[in-house]
């Protein structure tokens, strides 16, 4: 088929999911990706920029997108599902199929005082400069109250707040500041890690490392003058150091199908938007009840590819979130809609795998690692791992 004969797919947002999807469908469809950014960042590395002074990992999106697919470096203002159009500044583009991959980002306006806190401390959920700002605070920390955790229940990378607490504890331990420091982990959830099975390991580790856990702590406001974080439940915590995961929002460009936080109301199995069988959403942009992570987008891209080809594939909510525990140990949070999370003890082997992902990141997005990932995801199916654990 020539490009003129192929159906046209527009992918709004050239994120991890959108780019790998473009590779999966490039032979069968005329693909256009639209993104307001030209650079692609390996976001998991922000954790290491912030807690060990690592350098950012980035690449131009054009180097990841397949030859033959078009890339438009512009911002999409909204999508018109009824008329199958994508609206940019001064132009409209028609599509046969649409895939929304606009991601999620921090919203510092939601909690009073958060913008001021962010201006001073940065964080590891936005950009390189913010992560470097946080690293400078880590380096200059000389003891006191450290508050680390979650400000709002929707955010990307579920293990990341706990990872931050573990890496910070490792840092202060190595720099002999532990005696002078109180680490407080805050979360709006009933437990230190949302998934019960993994929480057993997380809570035990936090207790062993003297990280105090504050559950049901919904951040209401941040008083940056007196350095107090206030919760809706009436608790107040003083901080000398703060590493807070911000509330996250979606882009809100799909009118009529965005929830209060701007995420797209998406079918959790078929990944389509509303009743439209020609419009899909993937990655962080959806409102589906699974982790916001690149692994999710990766697995969703297979389902969307199949569905675009007329195959009734369904997403099963599979998660596989890498989770560092500090001291060169890590685990993965592996579950699905039907399977509870596997209780997998952290190991050095899994830590090496997590670190190794950094070096494979671009090949994964170019769909060059399927020879490894396909059998890997099968071998680590939560049903199989749960049986082994028994």
């Amino acid at each position: 088929m020539t490009n003129a004969e192929k159906k046209k797919v527009i992918i709004v947002g050239a994120g991890d999911g959108g780019i790998i999807l473009s590779h999966r469908i490039k032979k069968d469809f005329d693909v256009t990706l639209i993104d307001k950014s030209t650079m692609h960042y390996f976001q998991p590395w922000q954790l290491h920029i912030a807690f060990s002074g690592a350098k950012e990992k980035k690449i131009e999106k054009r180097k990841l997108i397949p030859r033959g697919a078009k890339f438009i470096n512009k911002e999409v203002k909204k999508v018109d599902l009824a008329n199958r159009k994508v609206v940019l500044d001064g132009e409209e583009l028609s599509y046969d199929y649409l895939v929304v991959d606009t991601g999620s980002r921090g919203d510092y306006s939601k909690i009073p005082g958060h913008q001021e806190l962010f201006n001073e401390f940065g964080d590891f959920h936005s950009n390189t400069e913010a992560a470097e700002r946080l690293w400078s605070k880590v380096k200059s920390f000389s003891g006191g109250d450290a508050v680390i955790g979650i400000s709002y229940p929707t955010y990307k990378c579920p293990p990341s707040p706990d990872e931050a607490a573990f890496l910070f504890e490792e840092y202060i331990n190595k720099h002999k500041l532990k005696q002078k420091t109180k680490i407080m982990f805050i979360t709006p959830f009933p437990r230190a890690y949302p998934a019960e099975q993994m929480n057993e390991i997380v809570e035990q580790t936090m207790k062993e490392r003297n990280i105090e856990i504050f559950t049901f702590f919904d951040v209401e406001s941040i008083d940056t003058k007196n350095r107090i974080i206030n919760s809706i439940e009436g608790d107040k915590l003083h901080y000398d150091f703060a590493a807070i995961v911000p509330p996250h929002r979606g882009a809100g460009i799909v009118e009529g199908f965005s929830d209060d936080d701007g995420f797209v109301k998406t079918d959790k199995f078929k990944l389509n938007i509303g009743d439209y069988d020609d419009a899909y959403c993937m990655g962080d942009a959806t409102n589906i009840p699974t982790s916001k992570s690149a692994v999710t987008a990766h697995l969703e891209s297979k389902v969307i590819r199949d569905r675009l080809l007329g195959i009734d594939s369904r997403f099963n909510g599979r998660t596989h979130c890498p989770f560092e525990f500090g001291y060169r140990k890590a685990t993965f949070v592996i579950g699905s809609y039907d399977d509870p999370v596997v209780k997998l003890k952290p190991s050095t082997f899994m830590y090496l795998m997590k670190m190794g992902m950094k070096y494979m990141a671009w090949q994964v997005i170019r769909n060059q690692m399927e020879w490894f990932l396909e059998p890997y995801f099968k071998m680590t199916d939560p049903k199989k791992l749960s049986k082994k654990n028994k």
Binding site: Y152, P153, P188, P194, E196, D218, I232, E233, T290
Partner: protein, 79 residues
């Protein structure tokens, strides 16, 4: 009971991280006197909602199960 202060939180099918997320978000917007009713298919909601109510000093009015859906009705006393 005045229904105009009642908010239904439909968290059916949500299990990661679970219906407690939706309850937490709804509580953020709630006022004293509001009724929050959480609908969930996750059996963990019973224990989580009770722990939440105890911590936040709000009141569970009723927990019932209908056709596989657990409905937890909460009165906001503290906000």
């Amino acid at each position: 009971m005045a229904d105009e202060n009642k908010k239904i939180i439909d968290a059916r099918g949500s299990s990661c991280p679970g219906p407690i997320v939706e309850l937490s978000k709804a509580y953020r917007e709630a006022k004293v006197g509001d009724i929050l009713e959480v609908w969930s298919t996750d059996p963990g909601i019973k224990a989580d909602a009770q722990a939440w109510a105890s911590k936040t000093k709000n009141q569970i009015l009723e927990i019932k199960e209908e056709n596989g859906v657990i409905k937890v009705t909460i009165k906001v006393l503290n906000r």
